[in-house]
Symmetry: C2
Subunit: 215 residues, 2 copies
């Protein structure tokens, strides 16, 4: 987030209504703060999972690394940047971008937790489907909010996607169909967790929250 | 390195005689490339240590994370930035900066290898002393080279420390005493590995190389 807000990137001075890191401390410290936090995430997992089988911890650290790398957040962001201002970005490319830029981190959050708790490969596959779907839904909702919400509600600058000449779901499908797509994705996400019944209630609630949020 | 070369940081257009990442691909891609490589380092260790006990791999990932975080590379760099242009930076602060900015990563390189090979705690302590000493020696040598070498020899812009009004060993101690300090540090580093005799030859050679290099 700190890196994403930098002038060289999304150039956002506010995040959740507060000045961003580089605004307070400068671009150089913001770059280093992001690097430090990214590394500390891995250190933290390695240092605070004493009761878990080490094989599981290694699996989690592998998934976490993958979720931020070239086939994760960073790769998705690069593709997103490269597509800005391009007139011929279709729904497939947009979905690819969102899968890596957004869903990959959600996948890591869901699947790392599941793995630490002893999930089987089949469990992990279900969690992955759930996370991918809510990740896409999150991004569709984000695109919708960027068009419909005010800067005040959003806690960050609104209308940035239009300014940056970015392809978004509302632009490709219109607002109404985008809202439908978000709803369908959330329903598919919840369907993936059906076998767990009531035990999945927190994750089911989270899926609904993702498309009902206003900032 | 990619982040370190950014205009917001050291602002270097060349590294080892070649254009730096942001010169070729832009600041935004350079920030993301650095993030991707940092994450991939952890993923790579987790995914390519199959023959090693998982407890060892977790230990290595913890050390690796620590070496880049607040009490590692990033913390040392921040302190380095904060001390630029300050007239009262003494040898203790300079050593603190170098310990975290430079020696921490060398410590990770040496100690992670040792841990994967089954090093005892005592072995690791010796490796740590060795790495800290050559790390400091490396930085003293770097400061000396910045004053004495040409941009062509260095493969990066020379004289940058003077331009940035940075405290360096040559400035605090003079060139001759700085060369002595580098030599003493290398001797102390080698002494830490004495119990291993000839088996430590590659590390001993590396220690000598660090202060004899010309770029």
């Amino acid at each position: 987030m700190i890196h994403d807000d930098l002038p060289a990137m999304d150039n956002d001075d506010f995040r959740r209504g507060k000045p961003t890191n580089h605004v307070l401390y400068g671009d150089d410290v913001a770059i280093l703060a992001g690097d430090a936090m990214l590394s500390t995430a891995f250190e933290y997992v390695a240092a605070n999972t004493k009761g878990v089988a080490a094989e599981r911890v290694v699996q989690v650290l592998r998934m976490l690394g993958e979720s931020v790398g070239p086939m994760g957040l960073a790769g998705g962001q690069v593709m997103d940047l490269k597509c800005e201002g391009q007139p011929d970005v279709g729904i497939d490319t947009l979905q690819w971008i969102h899968t890596y830029k957004t869903a990959a981190l959600l996948k890591a959050a869901v699947c790392c937790g599941a793995a630490l708790a002893g999930a089987s490969d089949e469990d992990l596959a279900r969690c992955e489907t759930y996370a991918n779907k809510i990740g896409l839904a999150f991004q569709v909702a984000d695109d919708i909010l960027d068009v419909t919400a005010s800067t005040e509600e959003l806690g960050k600058t609104a209308g940035k996607d239009l300014d940056a000449d970015k392809t978004t779901y509302p632009k490709l499908l219109g607002l109404d169909r985008s809202r439908e797509v978000a709803r369908e994705l959330v329903d598919e996400a919840k369907a993936a967790l059906e076998p767990y019944g009531e035990r999945a209630a927190p994750l089911l609630g989270l899926a609904d929250y993702i498309i009902s949020r206003s900032n």
